[in-house]
Symmetry: C3
Subunit: 212 residues, 3 copies
Amino acid sequence: MDNLPVWAYRLSVAIEAAAVLAFALSGLLAAARKQLDAVGVFTVTFLAAFGGGTLRDLLLDQRPFFWVEHVHWLWLLMGLCVAAMAFMRHRHFEPTERAMQWPDALGLGLFAAAGVSKALHTGSPALVAVLMGVVTGVFGGVLRDVVCNEIPRAFQDHRPYAVCAFIGGWAYVGWWHWTESAAQAMMVCVAVTFGLRALALWRNWVLPAWKA
Amino acid sequence: MDNLPVWAYRLSVAIEAAAVLAFALSGLLAAARKQLDAVGVFTVTFLAAFGGGTLRDLLLDQRPFFWVEHVHWLWLLMGLCVAAMAFMRHRHFEPTERAMQWPDALGLGLFAAAGVSKALHTGSPALVAVLMGVVTGVFGGVLRDVVCNEIPRAFQDHRPYAVCAFIGGWAYVGWWHWTESAAQAMMVCVAVTFGLRALALWRNWVLPAWKA
Amino acid sequence: MDNLPVWAYRLSVAIEAAAVLAFALSGLLAAARKQLDAVGVFTVTFLAAFGGGTLRDLLLDQRPFFWVEHVHWLWLLMGLCVAAMAFMRHRHFEPTERAMQWPDALGLGLFAAAGVSKALHTGSPALVAVLMGVVTGVFGGVLRDVVCNEIPRAFQDHRPYAVCAFIGGWAYVGWWHWTESAAQAMMVCVAVTFGLRALALWRNWVLPAWKA
């Protein structure tokens, strides 16, 4: 991906920024609903945005973390939290959440692809790599909910979310084995994950529940 | 332990499998009681089975994790979760829990012995090694309960559980210093831990509580 | 700091001990309020005292942990827990908490300074180092509250606590860049953090909250 034309590079940066922002906002809203103070708001926002990738890197024993290499993201998140506490009111919560669904689905795909890719590069077996993709995409939200003292939404809302990343991760592994192109595999993974998540949102799919 | 006869090797594999299964089922039941969806069921089952060992390896900076080296266990746990969601009903919860008490006590001993052994091999002081044994045996259940938004059972049910692993761990350390045989020390640790836990279950022992 | 006179060395050890004790007691009281058993009391006490530094070392990939190098602290905490369960009654909780406010503020400063220092020595960028100082000083309490199934107090009590460590951390970084003396920077960091925390307690400062 080193020879991208400038417009493609800019587009990819913009997409990435939108995705991280969507994840961060999910944390910000959770913190706002719990009426946390400034410290709590920043921590939960941070966890929602970068907790999944950080947990993956801890498990894979990889350093530096994304947010250590890209410190500007920390400043951006702080600015976001300050702005939200100054200007965001309760009536903005729901529209924000709705508007974030699509960038969030994109973020799920991007984070999953990044996670699978990193895990494969460190020599993880296929299933472990796919699970690392899921951890990257989903466990930021899990940490957000644990800190907010809730059962993680990803574990109990019966909506396909982690499942989309799981299938997208296998698409990555399959395409990569077939073509040996990591760049293509990433795009396939993002497309499959995003597509499934979009379908799930649109068709209101639910996961199987326990029968009494 | 390299020169075990075949039957002994098979027996040890069967015991290990029963123990991991008991731990996994404790997660599965906790997830079922909280009505989690498929993603939550797998995650909590995984945490209960392998969370303790994973936390120990994170603390000791050891890789690869057990479940990365033995990926088939991940497939088995997934199969277990699917089967449970298909066939397990509410009336099965209690009998399963009762049936699991004994393999669970065995698992506590095996996990504690494995934890102490690994910590000693990486040069930990005796007390730290014993605590790593406790972490291996008990903190899978702690992570299970934290994710399920409960105060960990091991911290508040006033039943000797971690305490058995703690004493078993010291038995390991003592025997190992005395005989320098790690294999014997492991067996002593399992026997002491399992024996104490069995006694505690049988005699209904309780830990001291706070006085008002 | 290698050429300290004996009295200064003894004083610094006494201050450190008072600070760790204050952190440990915050865990002990939280565990007592939740009526945890002996295992829970020790774990929560340990997390409150050493959880923040351990999390920092996990993130920075540093070993050994403080409590592995100084195993006597683990024995001390165990003794503290046993003594507390034997002699501490409900009527002692509030006076203990009040008496601990000042050593706790000191501990916040010492832990923050230690965290910033360690992070800078491993080459972290300034903001990351400051955040590691905050993690060291504050996240022991966060882990304590997560395990006790509460939203972390540091995230919702609207009292400046982490914020004091954050500003103190910047004081460290600034002084260090200016004078290149880590020992001086540590003292400045402790003074600023402790001073701000003392002011916040004395003047009853509150952090900004969400407006409805």
